[in-house]
Symmetry: C2
Subunit: 242 residues, 2 copies
């Protein structure tokens, strides 16, 4: 199914095309900012950079506003243009993706809050768990980026790869979590500090989930199939069954 040709044939007005294009651009712009937030939050935590952490928290307000604006844009398009078929799917996918992006922003702000807490407590060493944070952090940042690229290019294979990667992140998260619990048992004085690391790991794992949601939206957009709650194998079969 060629979505672009499909869409063109549907549109009576060039203006409508332009509006959909603009919606896409707004979403990708928000996505770019959110993706930077993920990277900056991890950097702030690992390098104990409280200025950077404060700027992440400030940017979160901007992201919240973007969510409201893009959501309003979606509602306006539905009300005025009464889109059908793939155009409607684009608007619905965008309005869901915007929510996931906002949540990724939220989780980044939570990591930034942990960074500020650790800086305030004067803990600036390289403690237990930072290797895992860096590693999982890079993965989920890449996932966010890939999900947005998949959306921009309507690339189903790339979207599937993001869903697959989320499985790997979940596995690494579970393993990191077991390690953190072991650290706490071995050195109870480290409990408070390790709990901060645990909250950051949890936030990263959630970011992976949201990137996967966005990727599933891309599959819905392109294929018209709702693949939420499916295993990777089931998803693959759904996508191939055309």
């Amino acid at each position: 199914m060629d979505l672009t040709t499909n869409a063109h044939s549907h549109h009576i007005s060039q203006q409508f095309n332009a509006e959909l294009e603009q919606l896409k651009n707004h979403l990708l712009e928000m996505g770019g900012l959110v993706e930077r937030q993920v990277g900056d939050a991890i950097k702030a935590l690992i390098e104990a950079d409280s200025d950077l952490a404060i700027s992440v928290r400030a940017n979160d307000k901007k992201i919240n506003q973007m969510e409201l604006d893009i959501d309003e844009e979606c509602t306006r398009i539905i009300a005025r243009r009464q889109p059908a078929a793939s155009d409607l799917r684009l608007v619905i996918t965008a309005s869901k993706a915007v929510m996931d992006l906002e949540r990724i922003g939220d989780e980044s702000a939570k990591i930034a809050r942990q960074a500020i807490k650790l800086c305030d407590e004067g803990e600036t060493g390289a403690p237990k768990g930072y290797v895992e944070i860096r590693h999982i952090g890079e993965r989920v940042q890449r996932m966010t980026q890939s999900a947005l690229t998949a959306f921009a290019r309507l690339d189903v294979d790339a979207a599937l790869a993001v869903a697959q990667e989320d499985k790997n992140v979940d596995r690494e998260y579970e393993s990191a979590m077991r390690e953190m619990i072991t650290f706490m048992m071995e050195d109870p004085r480290s409990i408070k500090r390790v709990m901060n690391v645990i909250w950051s790991l949890r936030a990263l794992e959630r970011i992976g989930d949201h990137a996967r949601n966005i990727a599933e939206g891309v599959i819905y957009l392109v294929k018209g199939k709702d693949v939420r709650h499916l295993t990777i194998d089931e998803m693959q079969r759904e996508v191939e069954a055309d």
Copy 2:
């Protein structure tokens, strides 16, 4: 603004009215099941009832399917009926609420998983943190119920009360969390067990957030104002500024 009269005057077809009514009923039906899941998950954990926990996990599949079905229903209504004004707001609010209900279901399933883990480990006493779980659990279950009632009755004041209550839950959650960390430091052998309690507390706190989201949706539906990301005071002012 009388939404019901408003809606009636908009509808050419009785059929459309019936479809919107049905959408509302499906959402409330899903809401009823989700609310029971919250209660059952807490009961399973506190009473170490692994059969109940297993049934909560099984019901989660049903809830996932309800999400897909209601979401499809929303898309179908938008595509066929091209709703405007308050009708469109109803469909949009429903499609968001359904997502929050599904997440509440997810969090309940997580609590059920902790319950099963604790049963497997043969820990059936009344350990530290259960008082807090019971207390916060009752609160968020009531919040979920109130948010759904507010939706059914288009009751803005009840919706505001849910948002207000979320603040209280957050405060209690923070305090319970500090207590859990103290327990772990005092008795490092309890770390694994307390971590299970911590994950359940976290899940309950998230359930409160989702109930608040649903309540904010009710305000959008009735007042046409998007009150997300506002403080309670700002929300109150927005609602009164008619």
